[in-house]
Symmetry: D2
Subunit: 338 residues, 4 copies
């Protein structure tokens, strides 16, 4: 960490900062420039330093961190890319993983019909929400336990692995009995009690970026899971909130290569939430694969106009099959398969 | 709700939308303009309609809602402003409520020293976190149960009422035994299981706006609590995330009068999180009171440089006392007291 | 336009709105719902109505527009895609246009070396700034007239067409003598005197989206040019400003298919400004082409570490040649050529 | 400037950075930590260094600036606050300056009626646009020269000083013959040719923050004016663009005390653009004065429903008079007058 002193700071101010550093067990280097004095803090573990405690000292203008605040999620931790194995399918390897299915599990028939169609295209993962975080208390809140039963039946019948959202600590035990992958939604991306508990669970975690979450914050949330011992975490870019209102969110395609520079964890794209409009899902899915995504999550519904949630951003079964053909071509153009 | 058809939509498209409306038990009015056909949906309960289901029908350009999606939180529900009574102090009345104390309860001595100083200024509420949502798993996570004990002792000794954060459903029962007001932090503002459970609790809820939460979303989160029966909810503007990096967040002072137009619930300001810098807390607190806030939450610490969290935005006891004097003058200038 | 009345509005309020509408030569339809009265304004030219004038009338809650505010730029104006012909090369056709070159023209040698390398890859357009909008008055401001001379020589020697930025009305005449395409930068995207003057110029205009410009605003800026008679306008997505600081801007890949839905004008991507980092230019260029961009603008420099501007986001000649190979594969995968 | 090397950087990488620094005439200090090597660049004029040129060198992770990039606008330049004198009225002194008038000058009668009403309240400055930047080419574009004539007549009759917007370099000479203060609007805040030309003009400049402009960028724009010799610049916070759609913009009240920390220039608030709604102008004006603004700009119109622009955010003459009374009380509460 670097501490930059104000132009008006005097020797006492600098001495006070130096003492503050030494009290915390770090050493320091003072550099007096013509315009500013700068103090470099020397020591292996910058994470233990709280920049706040310096910024309130008299004469301090600002502090700047040298290191990323995440460790286990960092490329510094391991240069080798994490590959997550789920029932024989890999996430983070050469093949682009496809997670497809309805926003919500609505009926046994709906999820089975979708699952068969998804399996037919060669996708490996069936998504479907049983516990739904809805912005209105008056909206459909999901089938709960019954939805999990339907997902399990769909897995049995199609061989797809399943992924479903978990919204609170008390549901983890139940959901873990059914799912192959836990999904953490954008609204819970900084629900730390949930993340810690998932860090002690046995199944991989699919962690979505928050609506206004920086990439650093996403990696810090992953760090909560990793630091408890669960190393099978994949990250999902799902659009961020900006001033643009034509789309529901702004899909941050930059996040894909940036995260791959910063972390060894697989990076998945969610073009449905990233756009909010079904007719943008095809081009944005292709853009995500071209940018190097390790997977895509696609909302698919047999009849989007009757969907109980997210119909506007769901593909029909037929449009999903067409998308899979398009994605295979784009994946091949960047030396991946689907 | 209004459905706007595309210029290229034909009679079949319109008929399909009409049928979709009628199947849901609503009636409609079709208006054919020169450039667009517009369909008005008539019926009392627009909340039951999912705009998504219309937007996927062929020929539909967009939908527009007429009504606000919140009900119990709305001024339509009651024109009378909600006043919340806590141990004889009112929130939402003529007097501006002041919630002051450290970010975290760190030691018995720290919270007692702060509590006495807060009480001396005439403030009524002591804040202090026992369960802390920290962005890093390596940071201080709060004293937990022990922190609640210290808060209770501070209440006993000073007569201040206490407010503390609750982060998960399983902690509600414990926290409720101690606190006078539950605080829900910005990261949990869309933690719906938590909001529903607090809707069944007996103590008032202090609900912070999310980092990138719209005012509508904040009111929908309040609606989750209200719809379960707990009508004592106050809303808190605590800064939103923008592109500006000089401050930690951008304090949205507009939110204060806007919320007071939209809802009957009290509106509180949190200038510490809204700025992230202690030297901005004084001017922004004054601006909030001048804009009509029903209360302010202030972070106060006996020694900010040694604080375990949020030191950079905490006032010293002396600066807090000075702020209280300043606020009394501004409150008087807008016909309020403190 | 739809006018939504407040719940508390009375018959006088509604009558006043009706009179206001009729005074402006429009007719209306009043719909009294259980909760709200809604007034539809009927007439061909919604653009002439100022929503502000309604929102100040007593009893009005809000207004909502039915139509897009742009006309000549709209798909309603023509369903046929605009193809711009520049010296025999087409922009907006099957072939993806590539605009490549340094941020600034720095020396004759620099631009010639770059031009030869660009031409070798099969790209058709040479970019290079002679007038530079720099955020600091102390930074290099461009070679001006001399830079235009160098660009013209490079065109002569390589057969590339040239594109360069114009920053003010008084420079248009000079720049027009040299350039094949005018570039309008993000900072001038709402410089209306400049846009109007370019609407009367004879060369095509390459119009960049503003840093915080909505897609609607971008189309309204295009409308300024189109409405003066210059129909050869192409639009450029170059990243928007968000809270994310890891990248210089957030490249809004959604904008590509959205604009292609809304307008007949060609849509170009600028991944250099959209990311700010040279090592992200390759993946983001591929993502833009996969999403359907009609062209890409790439910053290329013989020696980025010595560049006088934007070195951090410039490709070396070698990396640019490699990118062109990669883009050809992605273009083919979406049925385009480069 | 600090250069942080990657964990994987080797001695050659560090040597190359060192050479790059020395070639530019700076000296350096290398600090090898356990995890990273850090290179401090030593020299008085950090402004001359382009961080881009370092970021493309192999092995460089990032650069961090020590100094603010603005100089003449900085508190380092002078600790004494700038007070601007216009016809005997001061801006930046103890008295809060009030700039009031219609968005556009529409007719002689309209501006005279408004001017008399403004003068009656004790305000000192009459605003009114003659050249109008409108987002639609189909909207009223201002009266131009005729509008300036009306403003001059209003000044003659009331003694108010006048302020009006200038949109392009070629209009400066004309506008300067009439106005007392040049206004630069949000859309031109980075129109550098305009700023440079105003830096050579003889009248003070009222510079608005850009829609998505950081405070640093605003100060860099001021620097363009100051560096040409015009030291009479005042800065205006007028709301920034965020995700919140209930208000037209988000008024960034934090900007007021932050700017006063960073610069010696006066800071004005524009609550009309900062909110977009006339009924929010009163509370937000009070909040701005409470936060320490040196002035407020208020849109006032004799009949907002008939205004040709910005009617929705304009006060009636009566509401403006009431606001002035309210502001006097708030100003007194923070030891200012109006």
């Amino acid at each position: 960490m670097i501490v930059v002193m104000k132009q008006t700071a005097d020797a006492d101010d600098t001495a006070r900062v130096a003492q503050h550093i030494e009290e915390r067990g770090f050493s320091l280097h003072i550099s007096k420039g013509e315009a500013r004095t700068i103090i470099g803090i020397i020591g292996a573990n910058e994470h233990e330093l709280d920049s706040d405690s310096f910024e309130v000292l008299p004469g301090v203008e600002k502090t700047m961190r040298i290191m990323q605040p995440f460790k286990a999620a960092s490329r510094d931790f391991t240069q080798k890319k994490t590959v997550i194995n789920v029932n024989g399918s890999q996430i983070g390897g050469d093949r682009v993983a496809v997670f497809a299915g309805p926003c919500s599990v609505e009926t046994r028939e709906q999820i089975l019909e979708t699952a068969y169609a998804v399996a037919d295209t060669g996708a490996q993962f069936l998504r479907g929400g049983a516990f739904k975080p809805r912005s209105s208390p008056y909206s459909f809140q999901g089938l709960g336990h019954e939805g999990l039963e339907h997902l399990a039946e769909a897995r049995e019948k199609t061989g797809l692995s399943i992924i479903t959202e978990v919204m609170s600590v008390e549901d983890i035990e139940l959901v873990e009995q059914y799912t192959d992958i836990f999904q953490v939604g954008a609204r819970n991306t900084q629900n730390y009690p949930l993340l810690k508990a998932l860090g002690r669970a046995s199944k991989p975690v699919f962690l979505k970026r928050g609506l206004a979450g920086t990439l650093e914050e996403l990696l810090m949330s992953a760090e909560y899971i990793l630091s408890e011992g669960n190393m099978n975490v994949m990250l999902c870019e799902r659009g961020i909130r900006t001033f643009e209102t034509y789309t529901r969110n702004t899909f941050d395609v930059n996040a894909i290569p940036v995260l791959q520079n910063l972390t060894h964890l697989p990076v998945i794209a969610d073009p449905a939430h990233g756009t909010g409009k079904w007719d943008l899902v095809n081009p944005i899915s292709k853009s995500a694969v071209a940018a190097g995504a390790d997977g895509v999550m696609i909302e698919v519904h047999p009849n989007p106009a009757q969907a109980k949630s997210d119909g506007a951003q769901s593909l029909t079964l037929k449009n999903f099959a067409a998308l899979m053909k398009d994605l295979k071509r784009v994946a091949a153009a960047v030396d991946r398969s689907i």
